[in-house]
């Protein structure tokens, strides 16, 4: 087990280093790179050369990369071209917003997805099953930013159930401790602010949850159907075990194994979806940051840090999922 962990960790490090090198080389040497971005297209060759030298881009690429890695490992990603603030601060400010949104979406997706998938499988061929199948197909076929606009239109323009955008209402911008608004307001016991933050969170979370929800429902349904046909379920029934025991110990526990992997992979969908969802609801998290640092003049220091961060999160989550497998399924441990 330990050897597996070590090997996977090594692989992960190699992947990240390769990715950082690629991003490093690409971002510096393509047309429209940082020098062009800072100076615009009409700069004279002299100023261009001066800036290239000032930024250290005249040095050999491996020297540049060495310095770059050195700075990254000490947490120094440079300054944002747009605002001039240190990249790490810019990202730090936006990070909690996205994590809050992604967690909320995951809670919706898992909390609804597993029960729905299970029920659809148990009542296979019935109305609920058909509805679920059609619903999940629609869920993966709809562009989620469009769904976002649709929900926003229905629930904020036609019936005023939810606020159209942002994370909190005016005048409720409370003390910032962790940056997670729901958590912050709970810590300071401003419960009306908690309610407000949750109220703002619902539509974006539902929008972002669409794809993971659809995928989790489908996976759970398929997996439960597989398990229902297993001999050991029939045996358990023949033994006269209580249905609750069969459901919990024999069906769900086995059926959820592949679902766990799916949940891990859906982190990717969440990160991608956050970019779209945040733009729809003007959320102000990492997704908004990505959009902002691409449109207009490109903010390379921010962009490169964001890409690396996204990759790190995605890869680590998937590693954790793989490892958790060994804890859920003893058979994996043996190998």
């Amino acid at each position: 087990m330990l050897r597996v962990i070590v090997r996977r960790l090594l692989q992960l490090v190699v992947t990240l280093i390769a990715l950082s090198a690629l991003i490093f080389i690409w971002l510096r040497n393509l047309p429209g790179g940082p020098v062009d971005a800072l100076l615009g297209e009409r700069a004279t060759p002299e100023t261009r050369a001066l800036l290239t030298k000032a930024l250290g881009y005249d040095q050999p690429i491996h020297v540049q990369y060495g310095k770059f890695m050195q700075r990254i490992l000490t947490g120094d990603f440079g300054n944002s071209i747009r605002t001039g603030d240190p990249v790490i601060e810019v990202i730090g400010r936006a990070f909690p917003a996205t994590v809050e949104l992604a967690l909320a979406a995951m809670i919706v997706a898992v909390g609804l997805g597993i029960p729905l998938g299970y029920l659809a499988a148990r009542w296979r061929g019935r109305a609920l099953d058909h509805l679920t199948v059609v619903g999940t197909l629609l869920g993966i076929s709809i562009p989620i930013f469009f769904l976002g606009y649709l929900l926003k239109d229905v629930f904020t323009q036609n019936i005023h159930w939810f606020p159209p955008s942002g994370r909190v209402g005016i005048g409720l911008d409370n003390t910032n401790i962790t940056g997670f608004f729901v958590l912050d307001s709970l810590l300071t016991r401003e419960f009306d602010a908690t309610a407000d933050a949750l109220w703002h969170l619902i539509l974006p979370a539902v929008t972002l949850a669409t794809i993971p929800l659809a995928v989790i429902v489908r996976m759970t349904r398929a997996s439960v159907l597989d398990v229902l046909n297993e001999d050991y379920v029939r045996t358990a029934e023949a033994k006269g075990l209580r249905h609750r025991t069969i459901r919990g110990r024999h069906i769900l526990r086995n059926a959820l194994l592949p679902v766990v992997t799916t949940i891990g992979l859906q982190t990717g969908a969440l990160l991608s979806g956050a970019v779209l969802t945040e733009k729809v609801y003007n959320w102000g998290g990492l997704g908004t940051l990505i959009t902002d640092s691409i449109t207009g003049s490109r903010d390379y220091p921010v962009l490169q840090a964001l890409i690396l961060l996204a990759a790190l999160v995605f890869v680590v989550v998937n590693l954790l999922v793989d490892l958790s497998y060994a804890f859920i399924d003893p058979r994996v441990r043996v190998r």
């Binding site: 990715l19 562009p143 930013f145 469009f146 982190t267 959009t291 890409i307 996204a310």
Partner: protein, 340 residues
């Protein structure tokens, strides 16, 4: 494992390139050839007794699956509309009509009027004609992106699966790097790398996102076959290594890849729309493409005239649904688990 799908069911002729002499044949080869001919005779004889090839069996099951029929019908209609767009569309999709532009205002985009059943778009062009022509561009972007992704992915996967060992190891680390970024983020990164976005950056970005999926799928399937009986049999008969890979392993592995390509098509269309929404799409506003229509003007004028978003969105959803339905029905059909 199952029979190679390509030969099964059709009368299997002796393969020309395996003839002794031409391949610098040793007597061993000739012996192997004769044995193989005998084997093929046997295979044919048993096939004649009502055996069904996996491919035919899959096709038969596909025809009985309503999801597959619905999916195939949607795709057929989509392709027909794309082909006959100039005949179906009432107007030129690029032309701005005076009777429409004159009624455009900051808070008003005219709806259905005489001769313009779906009304105007944001620039006074006929929305219906743009939607009809849009099928062409959407098909073009989706199919091209998928084909490019498929070609690169199959190349990488086949090399990795054929050689195994360190070649496989290196190629798989490359796909690891690609997979380390969630799909849309990778596409965003790729588009951001180009100084200006264009239709081609969109196509390439969407294509490259699908490369690791194809590569891994093909590689996995080929590696699984390396140890399987039909490859062992071919090797024992003295079939050359490159022929084993190209004729015995690759055809078997391709079925799964083609199914994946069908599914990728729907993802590609949606991803192209997402890039447009983020301002990284095709900047040419004359070109009618559903993703751009939805992601750009559709959401920008959502409060003025939501129909600008509804129609292209509906088109995208229906077509994406068509590819997904067909793709999944195909996957189900080729799954040996479902074989009865």
């Amino acid at each position: 494992m199952t029979e190679p799908t390509t030969q099964a069911g059709t009368p299997a002729p002796r393969r020309k390139d395996e003839r002794p002499g031409r391949a610098g044949g040793a007597s061993l080869n000739r012996l192997g050839d004769r044995k193989k001919a005998r084997l093929e005779e046997l295979a044919q004889a048993s096939a004649g007794k009502g055996g069904v090839s996996l491919f035919r069996d899959a096709l038969r099951r596909l025809r009985r699956n309503p999801a597959a029929i619905v999916g195939a019908t949607i795709i057929a209609l989509f392709v027909l509309v794309a082909i006959f767009a100039p005949l179906i569309a009432p107007h030129d999709p690029v032309q701005r009509f005076d009777e429409l532009t004159s009624r455009l205002a900051a808070d008003h985009i005219p709806g259905a009027t005489d001769g313009f059943p779906l009304g105007s778009d944001e620039l006074g062009r006929d929305l219906l004609s743009r939607l009809i022509y849009g099928s062409r561009q959407t098909l073009f972007v989706g199919v091209l992106a998928t084909l490019i992704g498929l070609a690169i992915g199959v190349l990488l996967g086949a090399i990795a699966g054929a050689f195994g060992g360190w070649v496989d190891n290196i190629l798989m680390r490359v796909t690891d790097v690609m997979l380390a970024l969630p799909a849309l983020l990778l596409a965003i990164t790729l588009v951001a790398l180009a100084s200006k976005s264009s239709q081609w950056t969109v196509i390439l970005a969407v294509a490259i996102v699908s490369v690791p999926v194809f590569a891994r799928l093909l590689r996995g399937s080929m590696l699984a076959q390396r140890e399987s009986d039909h490859v062992l049999a071919a090797r024992a008969l003295g079939v050359k290594e490159h022929n084993i890979v190209l004729r015995h392993m690759l055809p078997n592995a391709m079925t799964a890849v083609i199914v994946q390509a069908t599914l990728t098509l729907s993802v590609a269309i949606i991803e192209a729309a997402s890039l447009s929404f983020l301002g990284l799409g095709d900047p040419n506003r004359d070109r009618a493409e559903w993703g751009a229509m939805l992601g750009d003007a559709g959401v920008r004028y959502f409060e003025v005239r939501p129909e600008l978003a509804y129609y292209p969105a509906l088109a995208i959803i229906v077509v994406a649904l068509g590819f997904t339905l067909l793709g999944e029905a195909m996957r189900e059909a080729i799954d040996p688990k479902n074989r009865r």
